[in-house]
Amino acid sequence: MSDLAARPSRFALLANPTRFLELSGRVQPWLYAAALALLAAGLGLGLAAPEDYQQGTTVRILFVHVPFAWLSMMIWTVMSVSALGLLVWRHPIAEVSIRAAAPIGAVFTFLCLFTGSVWGRPMWGTWWVWDARLTSVFVLFLMYLGLIALTRAFEEPQRAGRMASVFVLVGFVIIPIIKFSVDWWNTLHQPASVLRMDGPTLDPAYLWPLALSALGFSFLFFALHLTAMRTEIRRRRLLSLQRRQALGSA
């Protein structure tokens, strides 16, 4: 068989958009409920946690800052997986996923930057420094914005999705740079204390609320992502119907 043969793939059947809409419709409310419960628990515990002897009450920013930081990287990773799915298996849902995730990722990255710099003011005495960790997250933010611009620049959503996935994959190099920037260059920002090879070193009094709120924000992301994906799928159906109706008479 020639190279040109299409793959009428099992994946396409598995990821049949109709099936996806059905399934996601059922999961969606549970995701939102879980997100809200976890967030309430995590942030509640966090606000009740004892003050840090060094940082005082500002330590509570930890419970939002760190989940936002993790999510900003995780969302790009999710998009990279989708991009692989699109390029390798021509998974039709994958392109929808990238387009839906990009604005959410941009918001989370913005919040990481914002909470970080609000934390930096009392801790380091400055809103912003051009150090490696901070700047690399800023670069990630710019990449999210570029990605949004890219996905909106094309008329056809299909091509937009494919171009975006190429960019997402190439841009994945930024993730290790962010993660290891604190180890490679000595920066103002502190090194990892939770996600390390030899186990977390954070005090359990902070670890638990952090874990809960991180989980909660993740669920929130998944829930929003799912809603946005459902919208994207419907938008495509809309476009496609519009076009068919127009050309049906042409």
Binding site: T135, V139, L142, L145, G146, A149, R152, E155
Partner: protein, 219 residues
């Protein structure tokens, strides 16, 4: 004329050329500089206005070179040049659309970006003001280059090389005026007035020369 302005604006804003992208580009340029010169805030705030101006020039040049190319390639330029609107006016409205779509957002965003570069309030205001006065000149003189480049399959480079030197004075007076507003010994008024004079001069010269270039080149 208004129709042309609206269509060009729509084209510029739709898709890739949108103002948002221009601002993000600006952000990216500003974020790259500290990587080069180091995170020294005092130094950054000194070269800040120059950086903002260079970023503005660059992004204008990036959007400029296609000012007429697309219209030429699809044959629309023929209709525009022979249409009921006098060619220099048509070119002026194309320039106005380009400026509104790609320079105005920069001007508006420049104070915010200046904050990143730790500029003082006076410098922020001066940068925005000089950009507002100066960027039209870049667009207008760039139109001449775009016009000649669009018409000649060869020789496009030559013209851009001739036009860019004409844009450099704008850059220099713009930066000089900004510094004049901040540092005491340096004057603000005279470079700023020169800047405005340049914009007016190019506002007349640019469309006329571009129209002539495009007219001469139809084939």
């Amino acid at each position: 004329m208004l129709a042309l302005f609206r269509r060009d604006l729509a084209l510029q804003l739709s898709g890739s050329g949108s103002g948002l992208v221009g601002v993000v580009f600006f952000l990216a340029v500003v974020a790259t500089i500290p990587f080069g010169v180091g995170p020294d805030l005092a130094l950054l705030s000194r070269i800040g206005p120059a950086i903002l101006w260079i970023g503005a020039l660059l992004s204008t040049l990036l959007t400029l070179d296609r000012l007429f190319q697309a219209d030429r390639d699809d044959g629309g330029l023929d209709l525009i040049l022979t249409g009921p609107v006098a060619p220099p006016l048509a070119i002026l409205s194309k320039c106005a659309a380009l400026w509104t779509a790609s320079c105005l957002p920069l001007v508006l965003a420049s104070p915010l970006l200046g904050l990143f570069l730790a500029l003082e309030p006076a410098a922020l205001a001066a940068t925005a003001l000089t950009l507002l006065a100066g960027t039209p000149a870049i667009v207008l003189i760039g139109a001449v280059g775009a016009g000649v480049a669009a018409s000649l399959p060869r020789g496009g480079v030559l013209v851009s090389v001739l036009v860019l030197p004409l844009a450099v004075p704008v850059l220099i007076f713009g930066v000089a005026a900004t510094y004049g507003a901040v540092n005491d010994p340096a004057p603000f008024r005279s470079p700023f007035l020169i800047l405005c004079a340049l914009t007016l001069l190019y506002g007349v010269l640019g469309p006329l020369a571009a129209a002539a270039a495009l007219k001469l080149s139809t084939d």
